[in-house]
Amino acid sequence: MPKSLLIDITKCVGCGECSKACAETNNLSKETSDTLDGTNYTAVKQVGDTFVRKLCMHCDMPTCVSVCLVGAMHKHDNGAVTYDYDKCIGCRYCIQACPFDIPKYEWGKISPAVMKCKFCVEKLEHGKPTACSEACQFGATTFGEKEDMIKEAQKRIAENPNDYINYIYGLKEAGGTSVLYISKTPFEQLGFPTNVSKDAIPNLSWAVLSKIPKFAVVAGVFLFGVHWITARRIEVQKFEKEEREKKQRSK
């Protein structure tokens, strides 16, 4: 069953424990940062008096998975979207295509990797929650089944309508994501991309790509046809010319 992280922006105090736990679990440099910069998987940024944590949204229909030509990005059944360095060729299409601007590149390295949250996939496989949700003491990050997290988010909004805007960010974005946000401040003001398509984004290219086989066959037949007709016409012209010459000679 797909798992989910519910991030309640109203409860975050910006302590940065999630970043530290994340860095420790994934052997990243220990500094906490307010931006995703290719050294971390998550970052907590202060916007006004609220703290916004950024991490991979783990889309249900991930754009990065669809654009990676070698399949280095993989969507797991438990919701995680992970990156395989051993497959990657470094084309950076995932970075270009991600609607949430999450993947970052290790530009400083000779053999760089794409850096993004991996939903602590090994921990999930052993039935454990993500490191960040374990570390959070304030209930800002909760881990659980996706269904339950959606219900929990709806419950919090319904019980305290004054503390939340009536919107779950991630429920519809890019066709749905495994990370869900609720907030008091509108998401646009917090720097979230709010113009993200509500449909699965990979369809945009698949609409064209899926037509290629048909196109190739039709174009092939058409071009062969043109070739056949023109070649035949030239042949006929040549034949007629020869005939005429023969007639002239016989006269």
Binding site: L36, D37, G38, T63, S66, V67, C68, L69, V70, G71, A72, K87, C88, I89, G90, C91, R92, Y93, I95, Q96, A97, P99, D101, P103, K104, Y105, E106, W107, G108, K109, I110, S111, P112, P193, N195, V196, S197, I201, P202, L204, S205, W206, A207, V208, L209, I212, F215, A216, A219, G220, L223, F224, V226, H227, T230, A231, I234, Q237, K238
Partner: protein, 378 residues
């Protein structure tokens, strides 16, 4: 031609830039992408990707002429087939090298051969590059066989398959030219509305036809000047009339697309984007269209040369605008580094040198294939 360029001058300049480019490439591979380019996670694709689009577009010189001569059998274009295929081959070689330079992990460049994801436009592009380069080698092979006087089963098989190869090449090129546009279908909210369009693959394809023909005119005139070859101006004039028609179609489709998406207003905003858009449209479409409508210009070598050059400049502006300008929204900015420029210019210079070398060693201009002319006069 009267204007005779001393060949050592341009060659020494080209060698100079090639060496600079080679040094820059060594630095790129020893110091990494971050140290030598201005690329960033906000701007993961820059000049090199834009330039790949340009090179592939100019390489459209090859498939357009191959289709006209071998499929539509307008055999008077036969003398241009070899130079244009050679130009296309060099264009693709530049693209492949530039892609390897651009890849973060070039040591893994063989992965796409075995690890497939047909849902990725990049997958389509990679296979188009691989297969079309092979097609180009096949299309050039008679020239090589001729040079070394090879005549065996292989040459016969290739000759027998030649029409099939040309058709395969035309399909691959159509896919490849348009797929560079398809790359951007996935980022609707990141691109400026003047450039994002759901018909961007079609726009890329139409514009590459004009660019390919213009590239033929430019390369024919340039090589005629450098090598004192005869120039068949009637053929070039015919090309230019095709260009006029294609530009008219391109303009109509482009404007219609903007209207349909309700983005026409952005043209008249007089900001940075509208300036770049107008530059691209006026340079690449309107100006050459007006110029080439004049018989006098079409009949003069200089007129043809400069009008075609303008078409190419406008085409380059379009591809660079798509790859760079349209992504500069949301206060992101990117100016290519000196290293990026050096490698790009170095590769182009190397391309010129290779073309010069090939045209000296091989029979590019005097076409050995006489069969076409015999059958259809002219």
């Amino acid at each position: 031609m009267k204007l005779e360029m001393p060949s050592f001058t341009w060659k020494s300049i080209a060698i100079f830039f090639t060496i600079i480019g080679a040094i820059a490439s060594v630095l790129r591979f020893t110091m990494g992408l971050g140290a030598t380019t201005n690329l960033s996670s906000a701007f993961p694709w820059g000049l090199w990707i834009g330039f790949d689009f340009i090179c592939v577009g100019l390489a459209a010189a090859g498939f357009t002429i191959a289709a006209i001569t071998h499929i539509f059998k307008i055999h008077r274009f036969e003398p241009i087939v070899r130079p244009s295929i050679t130009v296309a081959f060099i264009g693709y070689a530049i693209v492949i090298i530039l892609l390897l330079v651009d890849l973060g992990l070039p040591q893994n460049c063989w992965h796409p051969l075995f690890m497939w994801n047909p849902h990725s436009v990049m997958f389509e592009i990679t296979w188009c590059i691989i297969l079309y380069s092979m097609v180009l080698i096949f299309e050039l092979s008679p020239m090589i066989f001729e040079k070394f006087d090879i005549n065996n089963t292989l040459t016969k098989v290739i000759k027998f398959c030649s029409v099939g190869i040309v058709i395969f090449g035309v399909i691959l090129s159509t896919l490849h030219q348009s797929s560079f546009g398809s790359l951007y279908l996935i980022v609707p909210e990141k691109m400026h509305p003047l450039w994002y369009s759901n018909i961007i693959p079609i726009l890329f394809f139409i514009s590459c036809l004009a660019a390919g023909l213009a590239m033929n005119i430019v390369s024919q005139i340039l090589s005629a000047r450098i090598y004192n070859k005869n120039l068949n101006i009637q053929l070039l004039e015919e090309f230019s009339s095709y260009i006029v028609a294609i530009l008219a179609v391109l303009f109509t489709v482009r404007i219609q697309d903007l209207m349909e998406r309700g983005a026409l207003g952005y043209i008249f905003k007089f900001d940075y984007y509208s300036f770049m858009f107008n530059l691209e449209i006026i340079l690449g479409i309107v100006l050459p269209f007006i110029l080439l409508l004049h018989r006098k210009i079409r009949k003069s070598i200089n007129g043809l040369f400069y009008s075609s050059l303008i078409v190419l400049l406008g085409f380059m502006a379009n591809r660079l605008n798509t790859a760079i300008t349209s992504f500069e929204m949301n206060s992101k900015s990117y100016v290519p580094s000196i290293g990026e420029f050096a490698i790009t210019i170095g590769l182009v210079s190397a391309g010129f040198l290779v073309f010069a070398y090939l045209s000296q060693r091989f029979n590019i201009f005097e076409n050995g294939e006489e069969h076409g002319r015999n059958t259809n006069g002219q």
